[in-house]
Amino acid sequence: MNRIYADFNATTPMGRACQEGMEAAIRYWGNPSSSHAHGRQANEIIEESRRRVAAAAQVNPTELVFTSGGSEANALALLGSYFATQSTFRLLTLSVEHSSVLDTARFLENQGVPVDHIPVGIQGSMDLEQFRKQVDQFRPSLVSVMAANNETGVIFPLKEIFQICRERKILLHTDAVQAFGKLPPAQWNFCDLVTLTGHKIFGPKGIGALVVKKGVPMVATHFGGAQEIKRRGGTENVLGILGFGKACQELPTPEELKHLAHLRDRFEKGLLETLTGVHLNGADVPRIPNTSSIRFEGIPSEVLLGALDLDGISVSAGSACSSGSITPSHVLLAMGLGKQAAKESLRFSWGKTTTPEEIDTVLQVVVKHVNRIQERKRRI
């Protein structure tokens, strides 16, 4: 069976240049910190890759700190800022952030740090006026708002948020993991701290980066070496960094992204026109071009997810833990969807390799199963 992958927001396969580059670089096993030839070679790989990643994100290479991925970069952004400023640190973050941000925020809160959350509306977007008021009331030292949401694809107005923060000398962190490669860097790269990762842009897993702009107070949370300008101790993941850099050279072009948006629209339109009891989460607000979060009324997400998987289609529901167990999405719950509705939602996320034929096949199979299951429920 030729499987169809519709879960690109979870992870992506590696691109060809990335994979070939990594295979070729396996023989460079030196420690980048060593002074000898082995070390110099490995160090060169890192520095060349740093420039590639920085170029793709349109940031200064010296501002890039490589981490083990997006979650570590998010933790470093929050914890590193906290330890650098201690008593003046106050965090305002978004209720639909990735759990690596929310859980770090909760950890800080348990340490006695003042933390508050920005609510979102039923469309999954935030209200800027309300945000301005919340900022003036809560007076955070750091605001953390993602560039685009992983489950709904909803884009957040970072330019306006940055403006509000800048006027008040508040720092802004953004988790740009889902925006990198899907939105132009100019929409998010001006933030003081930016989280990036490799495996959502057809690069390898286990590698990410935090952009730390000059002058932003930040201390390391990993120790044991002077790597990454003393911001992240530990011998670098040379191969991963190389793959990350290579993937950054293969980001989708604006034309490819336009095509992706077209395919997504075709899929969403097809579902909404063919089926009853189907709702698009975040339908009326700007979204990244590859993500559709869809609620199928009366059908638990694990049922449809399983039926699609058995027919060779990979999609996701809520957030899966390491056992594969599905819990209702905290994002949809924060949007006010209600437990039942949140448990009936599936995420389809497409990538630059998705074809129109794949979109049509998925559409057809989803319609088949939804009709079959709705029919069975009617008979009970």
Partner: protein
Amino acid sequence: MMNLGFPNFVPEKPSRIVVAMSGGVDSSVTAGWLKEQGHEVIGISLQLHDMAEKIDNEFGTCCSLSDIMDARRVAEKLEIPFYVNNMEEEFREAVVDDFIQEYLNGRTPNPCIRCNEKVKFRQLMDWALDLGADYLATGHYATVQTDPGNQRVELFKGGDPEKDQSYFLFAMKQQDLARTLFPIGNFEKKVVRELANKYGLLVANKPDSQEICFVQAKSYKDFIEEEVPKALLKPGNIVDPSGNILGQHTGLHQFTIGQRKGLGVFGKEPLFVLALRGKTNEVVVGPEQNLFRKSALVNNISWINEPLQEQKHLAAKIRYRAKESPVRVTPLPDGKLDVQFEVPQRAITPGQAMVFYEGNRVLGGGWIEDLSIQ
């Protein structure tokens, strides 16, 4: 492999069969064996509680997170699809809260039967049918057989008398039984472990679960005290059958009928808990011979097939580990059953299930009511 004179029904035609996998050896072998017979097998699990923080031994009991990890690995080994759904909230409401409430009311609940009835079979069957399955299979040691005449399904004991689990299934509905398979229901446990080894399953030597899954290594008393606000644990009197106060207790949840230890009161002869009076919050204690009784009242009856219309001689079990014993069962006008044992039974306990058998056949069962002691 032994059987009881009739084979356990499994379709001959290759079918799509969903197996409820707990991460234990029985359900794992069920999946492996069905796959070996040529069926399209899909594994599903319900995550009922998160024991991630409490795991301190290698193997937990049923349906904790680490067990689901085991199930997932077994499924991968068998190369079958596997899905998990989180039902912690439903389980909490339908099973754990009821378990606690029953103890606070002076009854001794059976959460496994309640879970089968209110959570497991309902959710699993619905899910299986939505996945387009022909059957749901579980690793229970029990047998089903369809009467070729009236097409009614009968439930029988499992083949291994040490392992028979039909007691837990008495409340199953006819329509669910008709689509449920117990493929290893007639196998000996020894054979099941041999098959697990043959299939190379990591759970081949995993011990059988013994405790209540959500209580685990703790005592149920500690569990309830952790879960319940102190104000709900009401102190009361410990009395003898004539009502004389012998001492005090700090909450009914600490006692079950037949208990001897931890009473804190002493008599001329050893004292046992004879009854728990929810209304007055009293623990009644007395000599062991008063624990033995011949009559019981059973409520909320569920029959696998035809409801009992008139008095009948059957055999009954008053708890899972009790021996079957001959009874005379009389249906009462209010729908309850009057049960008279030939031989007095020790500690007939309100809150436990009584299950009725005719030979190897399970007729049905119900829940033991409080017959306040004379």
